[in-house]
Subunit: 252 residues, 4 copies
């Protein structure tokens, strides 16, 4: 039609080849959403598992995602450097991942919150960041996992002071102001007999979703199935071990 | 932390000031999704109303959207030229709108499909296109509504031939190949006694969501409430009438 | 060759259709360049005319430039909204204009500075900014011309104080600190008997290069030649008069 | 002033960190420029040396350029991966390099063409391409040098056929159509007794400008001076040798 010229205003938005893509999603105003739905503090296992489930679905659908990391209301997805998903069109990749994750989150809600009906539709923002080399990808995930640890230690101490210590929230903040990690762990142990090491790895390390490495011995169809299966771990991803055992992640 | 430098790879993505923003969402693989959920052919009123509901929620949440137009598995949202939503950050606007629309679609599903449970989570792609002037915005919406008409006429004739005329789908395609609008209307009328004019405006014109114009006489709180209420129309938006009655849409 | 894949890293960079393009060039470190070549202070007519000459050549070469404005070490070029120069490829337009202007500047140097040989090659930075409507284009040029006036008044007063008033540069700065326009004109008049109105329009208004409007009576070849001739003015471009007499500038 | 808001239309354009930048300049319509100025065919040593001189000046001015490669009417500049030149602002880097190169070309013209006055100002287009890793940078330069070889062999054979062989240009084209490298070398040798190996390395390999490696023994000021001196080579840059001897190029 004579109106079709308006399509010319749609400009191409290809992402630079040869770079890793990381897509990070983050819950929009989850401060409010978590309050309204009575999320357990500091960590709600149901909420976190729901996030993992949605992320798992995303990885099942988009095979070029080789790794995902989640914590709190956010998830990061790593697409392999050479991905040609949607011809690397930025908005297309970004919106389909964001949309599908959101959809899965709402879709699976009742499995994790059978007794809490969803009061309003949650949403997520998304962004894609390009990383040109292995080092910066590694550092990206270290950044997120270090963040998980810092936040979790703070929140764990904070809510122990409030819930078990009977402090007001302002008192708890004041108590923790300026403390380093070791001091927070000390407070937890001395005052509440909580050994931080015993806290669930899910809370301390976040969730790591990664394709399963087929065992040496499995072959053919079996191997293929393994490669496309994804597992949920709560392990360290800052050190080298995780990556050395999975060189395929940064391979190509 | 020493990893925080990775944030520097996040680049700014502000949208040019002074331009209208149109965000168009489109169902991802809705050919399959509509099949799997038994959408009525050619038009499923439940599905279309669900789309409208989700779009309505989006407009309620994002006040800078002044107009929306929906058809089939897609919706277009017009943000006013001077919007400062998220400082006009492209990915932020694009993903929150896409995500929230998706969320609402899944959230409200059972209201429109009480007897059809959702078999898998649907998703939508999204894009933002800038239009610098009123003319191109008008032409954009004309483009979409002309498309609605063309598709609907074709589909209506096609499914009449198949469902009522007993043709195979290839025969129906063959029958319609090369026909102009008038001929399709003729086929509908002659063979199936369907007067295209009598077809539901929703199917012929799509859905137009627009903020209500406060009446001359209403004042204060009443006026404000009106301005923030949104109505769903199925009217022509190609001619001038619609726009002249609502100069606020293109105003600023 | 097997290396040709590296071309895929060249990404498209089309500029949004329907917008005016303004390309602004600015001399790189002309503080130093003007010193080293003994430019007259505050305004060197030779230097300004050389800038005009280079800009004129650019307009002769690139017919889609409908207006140019120059002051000091900078020049702004307006390309018509519907230009399809190099398919609106950003880097291509930007670099060819910048390069050609630079080349002309060096090429014509000796015509304006017959007694001053160029000591080192000057360079210019360039940028393209999109403006979606007539208002913002008008305001852009008003911004530059207002800047010309402000700077020129300041510099004129400043150098009068230094050269004729025997002040040091710091004293001159101190004298002018906090003064409004009227006060600066007053200083010029009272202390140095300079009537600011008598200052050359070139210095007060900058240089306006614009295609000649063919007279009503001229026809055919004559009209065409006129349309492609460009004149240099030093007139006001903030008010409406200039633009009303030349509606073609903003037309399309 | 009240017009200053137009600056908000200037959008940021930072280049992705961690990537190598390659800026390639290419003479605008040098087919015509070379004709008009009587460049020797197939290679004009004066013209090529002038290009080298301009490129050398650019490297002297912009220390973050670690390597440059020139052939015909083009030059490519490699900026180190971690460069922070102009805060990695794309247009700023691109235009200053393009402009300065152009300026130097015109400025030095008469040194290389003492008997040919410049008839009109030449210009260059420019582009910046990002390369995320060493491999793609190496391949980029291999691409250009392979191109040099292919073009030079073709042009050498072509002009031998025309100038010495008395062929028309169409006959020469026809003779070479479909021939591989070895056949062209054969033609040169059999018909014109030209051993391609004896052709000037400048023509076969192009120009490689690279910072001098300070000798092991030199220290302090001497070392520093060496590091900032640049040499012009006409050597192979496709193989590993060149790069292994200069690991600093790709280092950081
Ligand atoms: N109680 C509880 N709250 C959680 C849990 N996970 C996340 N949240 C809440 C706590 C934080 O207020 C919020 C995540 O922080 P953000 O920085 O993402 O802020 P928020 O989503 O409110 O704002 P945003 O739209 O992302 O700028 O989500 C959880 O497991 N339990
Ligand atoms: N039966 C039925 N199908 C519908 C209705 N609305 C949309 N659809 C289906 C028909 C089309 O196959 C599809 C919309 O066409 P699209 O061009 O968006 O294709 P699709 O979503 O399959 O692929 P895409 O991922 O958008 O490229 O949705 C409806 O009301 N009834
Ligand atoms: N004496 C004299 N100097 C002039 C004339 N026109 C321009 N200039 C000098 C004065 C300023 O220092 C300089 C223009 O100011 P800019 O803000 O463009 O600074 P500059 O070019 O030094 O630095 P830049 O590389 O643009 O950031 O050029 C003139 O007619 N006479
Ligand atoms: N005779 C002669 N011509 C040369 C020499 N170096 C370059 N040229 C000419 C031959 C080619 O026509 C031209 C370079 O080819 P390009 O592909 O860059 O084309 P041109 O610059 O004409 O167009 P462009 O504006 O780059 O698209 O420059 C030389 O050493 N001798
Ligand atoms: O944690 P982030 O990256 O979401 O950082 P932020 O402070 O929320 O900023 P924004 O989401 O606005 O980029
Ligand atoms: O109708 P559109 O705009 O979605 O057009 P398309 O042919 O689906 O193309 P794409 O979604 O890949 O831009
Ligand atoms: O006058 P401009 O626009 O050149 O402004 P600037 O302060 O020189 O900044 P820039 O670094 O953008 O040239
Ligand atoms: O050789 P290049 O890269 O200049 O390629 P081209 O065919 O001239 O294309 P353009 O300069 O228009 O990108
Ligand atoms: Mg955020
Ligand atoms: Mg959040
Ligand atoms: Mg968060
Ligand atoms: Mg599509
Ligand atoms: Mg679709
Ligand atoms: Mg569709
Ligand atoms: Mg500047
Ligand atoms: Mg300057
Ligand atoms: Mg300046
Ligand atoms: Mg080219
Ligand atoms: Mg060329
Ligand atoms: Mg060339």
């Amino acid at each position: 039609s004579k109106y079709a010229y308006v399509r010319n205003y749609e400009l191409p938005d290809p992402l630079l080849p040869g770079c890793f893509l990381i897509c990070r999603l983050d819950g929009h105003s989850f401060h409010r959403f978590s309050e309204e739905h009575g999320f357990t503090k500091p960590n709600d296992e149901r909420a976190l598992k729901l996030m993992d489930h949605a992320a798992m679905d995303v990885m099942t659908e988009y095979k070029d995602i080789v790794l995902a990391f989640g914590e709190s209301d956010e998830f990061s997805f790593l697409l392999r450097r050479s991905t040609n998903l949607y011809n690397r069109r930025q908005a297309k990749i970004l919106t389909t991942l964001t949309s599908y994750f959101t959809s899965c989150y709402v879709f699976h809600w009742s499995k994790y919150f059978p007794d809490t009906s969803m009061r309003y539709p949650p949403s997520f923002d998304g962004r894609i960041v390009l990383y040109p080399d292995e080092r910066s990808v590694r550092d990206y995930f270290s950044w997120r996992q270090a963040d998980t640890h810092i936040n979790n230690l703070y929140n764990t101490a904070f809510w122990a002071l409030v819930k078990q210590g009977g402090k007001t929230t302002s008192e708890a903040h004041a108590t923790l102001r300026g403390t380093v990690s070791a001091m927070k762990q000390e407070i937890l142990f001395q005052r509440f007999n909580i050994n931080y090491n015993d806290i669930s790895p899910r809370f301390k390390k976040g969730s790591v979703l990664v394709r399963v490495i087929p065992s040496e011995r499995s072959t053919g169809e079996k191997k293929k199935r393994a490669r496309t299966r994804t597992e949920v771990l709560h392990c360290d991803i800052i050190g080298d071990e995780f990556w050395m055992a999975r060189s395929f992640i940064l391979a190509g």
